[in-house]
Amino acid sequence: MFLLLPFDSLVVNLLGISITVLFTLLLVFIIVPAIFGVSFGIRKVYMKTLLKIFQWATLRIERGAKEKNHPLYKPYVNGIIAKEPTSLEEEIKEIRRSGSGKALDTPEFELSDIFYFCRKGIETIMDDEVTKRFSAEELESWNLLSRTNYNFQYISLRLTVLWGLGVLIRYCFLLPLRIALAFTGISLLVTGTTVVGYLPNGRCKEFLSKHVHLMCYRICVRALTAIITYHDRENRPRNGGICVANHTSPIDVIILASDGYYAMVGQIHGGLMGVIQRAMVKACPHVWFERSEVKDRHLVAKRLTEHVQDKSKLPILIFPEGTCINNTSVMMFKKGSFEIGATVYPVAIKYDPQFGDAFWNSSKYGMVTYLLRMMSSWAIVCSVWYLPPMTRQPEEDAVQFANRVKSAIARQGGLVDLLWDGGLKREKVKDTFKEEQQKLYSKMIVGNHEDRSRS
């Protein structure tokens, strides 16, 4: 017994010392820089090291596959089939010309007209633009996460060991660290904003509120190990404007809010989110709606307009797509925020899926699972571009303005600009869209028929 005691206390001492060291490291290297907004550059070095390891891992897989003489599965971003770029009219003309020799201006239906639609239909069934935007982007090289591996059977022993090491580091070291940071960040946010809320309104309160918000968001950024590169910061949104951005995950809010002070817009939730929201609004005039108010579009528009018209109020942060898209494209922007008449500051956010896929597939994962997946990835790497402000021109309506902003964001972020509605994730296509192609074809056949019968 006596021999064990000194050993016991040794273990206890060691444990105590290592925890103290960990916390000091935490404080010095992560939290203090977050408070002051400086960075030691540790995350960038981490990122470079990881990239080298991933390249090595991918080469090993390819070598393994070559030895066994199997083809590797390579995902293709541009789709798997070559779509013919010819239009409806051209194709039908061509087929008719080669067949019966009748031109398109004779108003008759040809047996072969069905062919174009048949082929287009089969092409769409094989590969369509929309469905693939709602599942996570496929990577071309492996990033040592089993969730992104499609060529699993080609992994050698060395690679498995490396992967095992990766799992250990991510789950036993990084994950607890990140959870501790997230906890710190959120509790600081709630207590800080509540305390600031008791101050009388004035410049002091605003100043403190801004810095409390910024500090806590920066801690949260480090809790996700998010490595963000901001471009064109001189175009950052100003008071009295609206900031719009493409939406990939709830993390977008943290990324943007850690570099600027925004008024958030959203629905009040219950639970932890609700507590955070209610605390935040004490210090700063965020615009939260009750669930019942969200359905009333006029009420929402009215409140937003009031907020924007006061030039001293903070810029509003809005995600007009309405749902999370997988960051390879930008889908239709809902026109509500573009009708208000304020200056719009577009922001493009592009994530690098190499280090951790930030897309939230809400039909597959709940919020908690999603956050755990985020915190157990290597890192979240993204680029943020602040685009120059845009205003609605007199001859444009809200929809055209929304599309113009959407194209600018898509072009900057290197994303595909789609006309489709993000709501297609859950609903079917509206009937009005269905009839477009049918109208075009029937116009071709019948428009001529009517001319002929008239003459």
Binding site: Q55, E62, Y73, F109, L111, F117, I125, F152, H449
Partner: protein, 214 residues
């Protein structure tokens, strides 16, 4: 951990030359799983999840073609309720591009197969003939998007086209001769001169040219 990812479905004698590469089959398999939502078979409802397909006026006929037992090369007749991956590939095989090394006989057989697929799209009651009513159905579907078009106009267009078809196939008819419908041989006659085999295909993107340079 993804354990069954590498398992390829059995594709033994489905494809007499030209062949499809195993990589293309892998891609189609992934697409199948996406459409079937990880089930082993696809039903008609699964095609509802493709928004682009809604644009297509003959969407109903195309989906129908996937479940048509004549296209699935099955002995029996009628419609299947659900199809598995092998059936899916069978339908896709009608849209294979031709290859350089095919001889006359193969080309001719290839062409006939593709045209048979289109014939089955028109012939919805499976009696081997396209009757006037079936022809009208197709024209109405194709022209259904135009709200200004009355049913009468669509019908008269269909009738005009059918008469044209009759004159090609049977020549001049007597006043009391009834044209029963377009048989497959007549159908072939009407497509003479149109190189359907060079147009009715879906090409896979050439994989090598897009390969990543390490």
């Amino acid at each position: 951990l993804p354990c069954a990812q590498g398992a390829h479905p059995p594709v033994t004698s489905l494809f007499p030359p030209p062949t499809v590469t195993s990589e293309q089959i892998e891609h189609l398999h992934r697409r199948f799983k996406q459409l079937s939502q990880d089930q082993l078979t696809i039903r008609k409802e699964n095609f509802d999840s493709i928004p682009d397909l809604e644009f297509n006026p003959i969407r109903g006929k195309i989906v129908h073609a996937f479940f048509d037992k004549r296209n699935l090369r099955q002995e029996s007749d009628g419609l299947a309720d659900e199809i598995n991956f092998e059936d899916f590939l069978t339908i896709m095989s009608y849209f294979r591009p031709i290859e350089m090394n095919m001889d006359e006989e193969q080309l001719d057989r290839f062409r006939k197969e593709k045209l048979k697929f289109l014939f089955h799209m028109y012939d919805s009651d499976h009696d081997g003939k396209i009757t006037l009513q079936e022809y009208r159905n197709v024209v109405e579907e194709l022209l259904s998007g135009n709200p200004h078009l009355e049913k009468e106009s669509a019908r008269s267009i269909a009738d005009g086209a059918m008469m044209e078809a009759a004159s090609i196939c049977v020549g001049q008819m007597g006043p009391d001769q009834v044209y029963e419908g377009i048989t497959f041989e007549d159908f072939l006659k009407m497509w003479q001169g149109i190189d359907i085999e060079t147009k009715m295909h879906v090409r896979f993107l050439n994989m090598e040219t897009i390969a990543h340079c390490y």
